[in-house]
Structure formats: C-alpha cells, structure tokens
C-alpha cells in the first residue's frame, strides 16, 4: 500500500493526558492500573480509569451526545492541539474530504445500563431523558467526533471488538486510496462500563492484581479506557525526515472460536504476514513488536506462537497493557500511537508489571524500557469473533 503520514496524534489513557505524559510514563515503565471503585461495580480487579472524565462538559450545541464515552472522546480531542489540527486540515482540504473512522466495542452503553436501573415500575419504559441514538449506538462516537470537528465527509464506526481501532487505519487507507477522501481522522474510544467488567468476569478472564502480560504467573487482563486519535494523510514525496508513516495493514479472521484465539495463532500469523506484505517488508526489518499481549494465559501463548514463527526469538517485543490496561475497542489506536511515540523518541517500552517472562513463551520480551533507534514497528490487535489486525508503522 502507499504509505500514509500520521500528521497529528494524541492519546489519553490512565497513564495521563496527551503524548508527552504518555511517552514519559512509558519511558519510566509506569502503570496507571489501580484497585479502585468504578460506578456500582463490585469486582476484585484493577482498572485503568482515566482521571476527570466525569468532569468533562460537551459544548451546549452537542449536549445530546453526552455520555461517558463521548466525554472521553472530547477529553482526548482536546489534547496535543488535535482538534485544532483537524480544523486546519478541514480548511485546507474541505470538510467533505475528511473521513471519520473510529473503533469502539461498547460505545456509550453505560448510559443504557444506568437507564435500565431507572425503568418505569409500571410500564417498564426507559426514562424520557435517555437518548439511545446519541449515546449507546455504536456509531455515536464517530457521529460525535464528526459533529465536534464540523466535518462533512464519510464516517462510520468499526466495531470488531478488540481489533476495532486498528482496523480503522485500513479503512482510512482504502478510502484515501480510492480517492473518496483526502484525509481521515482515525482512532478509538472505549470507556469503562459494567458490560465489559462483568462480561470478562463471567469468562474468568479478569486478573485480581494489575495484569502481567507474558509473565509465567499471568492470570488475566485488567480493563482500561482510552481515547486515541490520528490524522492520516498521504505521505508527501518531500516531507520532514522525522515523519511517522503507516506502511502496512494486515487483517485476518481466526475462523476458530468466538472468544478464544486459535491455539496455534494461525489467524494472528496471517495478519502479521499480510501487514508485512502490504508494507513490502521482511520480518527482519521490524525493530520492535507491540504485542496484543492481554495477559490471559491462552491469548499470550497463541500470540507468542504467531510472533515467533514469523520473527523468531530475537525481535524485541512487549505489551503495554500492563501500563494502560486493555482498552478494548480503543486498544488498536492506543498502541498505534504508542508505536509512533516509540519511533519518535527512540525507545522500547518495557512491559510494566511483568516480573518473570513465561519460559514456555519464546518471544524476546522486553521488561525494562530502554533507548533504541527504531525504524519500523509492528503492532498487533486481536479480538472476539477471531478478528485480527496488525499495523506496520515507521519512519519514512
């Protein structure tokens, strides 16, 4: 594929708001996971909650969109001058020539969960103030961001569970390649809600302590929330030498099970290989792999198999979910932005909370953050339904 430039970036997770806070925390191998209360949940687990989401206020004209997920989106857009950068691009290119493609798994479902506790005792009806279209519906976050940025181009949400916001990079690349748009706002926003907390609990996949990807004692995931965005445009022939580009996108389906990965990592391997093929690269060209690395025993072992079959055991790898938690539908975009930060600042993020890599896993798992001149990075995102996506980012 023709490379695209990530012209502007931002992300907000439990590590902090914006690029600088995130890069610093990752370089210091910090984690934002903590044992704390969320809403009415009573679960013995740690979460990656973003500070200050409840205090965010949407513009009065956009009040109908108000819900935790869109407040988190708004908080994310306000960092690193991202909203202003998109507006400048809209003036330059035209509002209808910029697409909005965002990933989410649960959108504003928390609004519906709460509305179900306020049903009319006689009729069972949901309260009058509940607005399904602008909050719960899967499109809501893309509709909000399109309205907030006053864009007028094509928009939709990709919702393929935990690969959602990696796959939007592919959507944007194809839409730009087909000439329908000149640029795209891509990203992912997923916020804490009871459905995912109790849902992963029902699958016995929640860790009690902060998650420990690749650890021999890993016991499950920690759920986080995040908003991450990138403005994608064609890479100019003569641009700045330090531009970060999207070089390849690979996608595949496991065709195996709804919630368990293919044990041999076949779908993951196919996704990685097609990302490399799209980028025109060989495995040896990749300097660092940001793993999906959820810290469930089966996910990490399937991914280890896929990664080592492609790259062998020498390419440095780590999962940043020990730092951010698993941000589900936002994870692909969060980790794409982290990959861009690793390229820009020249470092490999060490896997926070992991103590002793599982000797049964063969990938070169990086425990301590360290400086490293990186040129090409691959990021994996895999989700329920066997949905896999890998991205290759790099310097031009």
């Amino acid at each position: 594929m023709r490379p695209l430039q990530l012209s502007h970036l931002t992300l907000t997770t439990c590590l902090g708001r914006g690029l600088e806070a995130t890069a610093g925390a990752l370089q210091r191998r910090e984690s934002g996971l903590a044992r704390r209360a969320f809403e009415t949940a009573v679960l013995d687990t740690c979460i990656g909650e973003v500070e200050g989401v409840d205090a965010v206020r949407l513009a009065p004209a956009l009040a109908a969109w108000d819900c935790r997920n869109n407040r988190l989106a708004e908080l994310g857009l306000a960092q690193d001058g991202f909203a202003e950068a998109v507006r400048a691009a809209a003036v330059r290119l035209g509002e209808a020539r910029i697409g909005v493609f965002l990933g989410t798994s649960t959108s504003g479902i928390l609004q519906t969960e709460q509305a179900y506790r306020r049903r009319d005792p006689a009729s069972g009806a949901l309260p009058a103030d509940f607005d399904y279209a602008h909050t719960h519906n899967t499109y809501s976050v893309s509709g909000y961001v399109r309205a907030r940025l006053a864009l007028a181009g094509p928009a939709w949400t990709v919702s393929t569970a935990c690969s959602s916001s990696a796959k939007v990079f592919g959507t944007a690349a194809r839409m730009i390649g087909a000439g329908l748009i000149d640029a795209a706002v891509v990203g992912g926003v997923d916020s804490l809600c009871l459905t995912t907390l109790y849902g992963f609990n029902s699958l016995e996949l929640l860790a009690r302590e902060p998650c420990r990807p690749w650890d021999r004692a890993r016991s499950g995931l920690s759920i986080g929330e995040a908003a991450a965005f990138a403005l994608l445009e064609p890479l100019p022939a003569a641009g700045t030498a330090d531009a970060i580009a999207l070089h390849g996108v690979g996608e595949s389906s496991d065709a195996h099970h709804m919630s368990a990965p293919h044990p041999e990592g076949l779908g993951a391997r196919r996704s990685i290989e097609s990302a490399l093929a799209a980028a025109g690269l060989q495995p040896a060209d990749i300097d660092y792999v940001n793993l999906h690395g959820t810290a469930t025993p089966s996910n990490d072992s399937a991914e280890d198999r896929a990664v080592t079959e492609v790259f062998g055991s020498r390419t440095p790898c780590s999962s940043t979910k020990g730092a951010t938690g698993h941000t589900l539908g936002a994870a692909g975009a969060v980790e794409a932005v982290i990959a861009a930060l690793a390229l820009r600042h020249g470092f490999i993020p060490g896997g926070a909370h992991t103590v002793e890599p599982d000797p049964a896993l063969r990938a070169q798992y990086t425990l301590q953050s360290r400086a490293a001149p990186l040129r090409r990075v691959l990021s994996n995102s895999f989700g329920f339904g066997g949905s896999n996506c890998s991205l290759v980012l790099g310097r031009r």
Partner: protein, 266 residues
C-alpha cells in the same frame, strides 16, 4: 469526485413481505403487488444445531442473507472477504445483559457476553465457512447500509478481490425498541467482484453526492426504507430488479448521499 466501481455477481434479500430475492425482484419490478408480512428468517443452516438454537435474530438474518447470496453465485465462501453492516447487531443479547446488570446478581453468561459484540455475525460466519480472509463490521446508525457499501467498494478497489457485503438489522425488544424503533428484521447481501464474469448481474458505480436521497413511490416499500436502516438499500435493489441501466440516490449521512448507477453486464 471519484467513483467506485464493482460488479454485482449475486444478491439476496430477506425482509418483511420480501422473503427472498426472486420474490423481492418481482415486487420491486412492479410485476407483483407488495403484500405486508413479518420477515420470515430461516434457521441458519451454516451453524451446528446447538449454536443454531442459541443464535439471536441478528446472527440468523445476517448468515441467511450471506449464504443465500453465495448460493446464487459460484464462489467458495472460504476465500471471500466480508463486510457486515448493522445499526445495532444483536438487540436481544444487549437487552438481556442490561437487565441482568440492573438486577442484584449481575451474572452474565459467557456465551451471551461474546454474542454481544457487534461483530458476532462476522465471527459465526467465518467459523461456519472456515474463512480466514479479513472481515470487518461497521455501524453508521441509520447510515449503516451506506457505510457498508463504501467500505465494501473501497476494499474491492484496494484488494481487487471479491467482497461479500451483508447489511442487516434486527429490532431490539422493549423497552429499547421504543427508543430505537426499527420496523422489522431485514437483511441484504451483495456479492461484489472486480471484473464481470459469466452470469454477473450488473455493473455498479458509487459516488458521493450532495443530492437529496430518493424516496420510493410505493408507500409500503417507502415505509420499509425509512424505518429499517438496511432497507435504505431498496432504491438500489429496485434498479437491480428492473434489469436495465439506471441511477438512484441512496440515503447515507445528512448532506452526503450516495449516487449509485447500475448497468447490465455486456
């Protein structure tokens, strides 16, 4: 303004009063009057019996529409990339989870949780057809059909390989139905290819336009178009039913419609 081109190899429709494509074609071509009837969604033959029982209406209609479009063509499902477009995926599952979370026990079944994802039909499809090709699942609320059509045509343009688009909707149960009224279940599947082979139905072109979307003269069909997101496809289906060259404007987002034109394959 660029146009996306594709060849429609085969298609399927399942909706209220439109049990399959041959019946829908006759109604849309004006050969038969429309007779209102609830959508009859067949059990998905693709799924093993235990999953067939447990699967919700959304999975059923998506799989039935996709399988029917493929059966009308000559391709092996195992090789075909797929795009699933829906306003809300499985509403029954979502309702059941919200009810459980509002209660005191909050015991969600693991199966119900994995069935709650928007890409559940895509997951079941890929497992049933052993298809490891990429699949995506998109949502545009009322604009979901347009989103799916653009995603599918852009995918075809990028990969130059066949793409199956399945747009489907299944209504929520109450109390969500009152907040999100969708008249009935509806599914439409289009098997798209880059080049016209033997038996291909029509050439399709899609482009953005600021023009107002087209309404259907038939009040009952227009009612379906307005009240079911995936039935926003009906003006395109009517063109295909006619069998001649023609054009229509499909509703997508406000101020951003999709101009579609079809022509018979030479």
């Amino acid at each position: 303004m660029s146009r996306l081109a594709a060849v429609i190899e085969s298609l399927a429709v399942i909706g209220p009063g439109l049990p399959d494509w041959p019946a829908a074609r006759a109604v849309l071509a004006g050969e038969q009057p429309y007779a209102a009837a609830p959508a009859a969604v067949p059990a998905p033959a693709l799924l093993p019996p235990n999953e067939r029982r447990r699967s919700g209406l959304a999975v059923k209609i998506a799989l039935a529409a996709g399988a029917s479009a493929l059966a009308a063509g000559r391709r092996d499902a195992a090789d075909i990339e797929t795009v699933f477009a829906s306003s809300s995926a499985d509403g029954d599952t979502c309702h059941a989870i919200c009810e459980q979370l509002a209660g005191s026990e909050r015991l969600i079944s693991p199966t119900r949780f994995h069935n709650s994802v928007h890409n559940a039909p895509s997951g079941y499809w890929s497992i049933a057809t052993r298809c490891m090709a990429p699949s995506t699942s998109v949502c545009g609320y009322d604009a979901s059909f347009g989103a799916g059509l653009l995603e599918a045509c852009a995918l075809l343009h990028a990969h130059r390989a066949p793409v199956l688009l399945v747009a489907y909707d299944a209504p929520y149960p109450e109390p969500l139905l009152a907040k999100r009224p969708v008249a009935d279940a509806f599914g439409v599947a289009l098997l798209l290819a880059p080049e016209a082979g033997p038996g291909a139905l029509a050439r399709l072109e899609v482009a953005a336009t600021p023009a107002a979307p087209m309404v259907l003269e038939d009040a009952a069909l227009e009612g379906l178009r307005r009240t079911i997101p995936s039935a926003r496809s009906l003006p395109l289906l009517r063109l295909l039913a006619g069998g001649a060259a023609g054009a229509a404007v499909l509703e997508y987002l406000d101020g951003y419609s999709l101009a579609v034109s079809v022509a018979p394959c030479a």
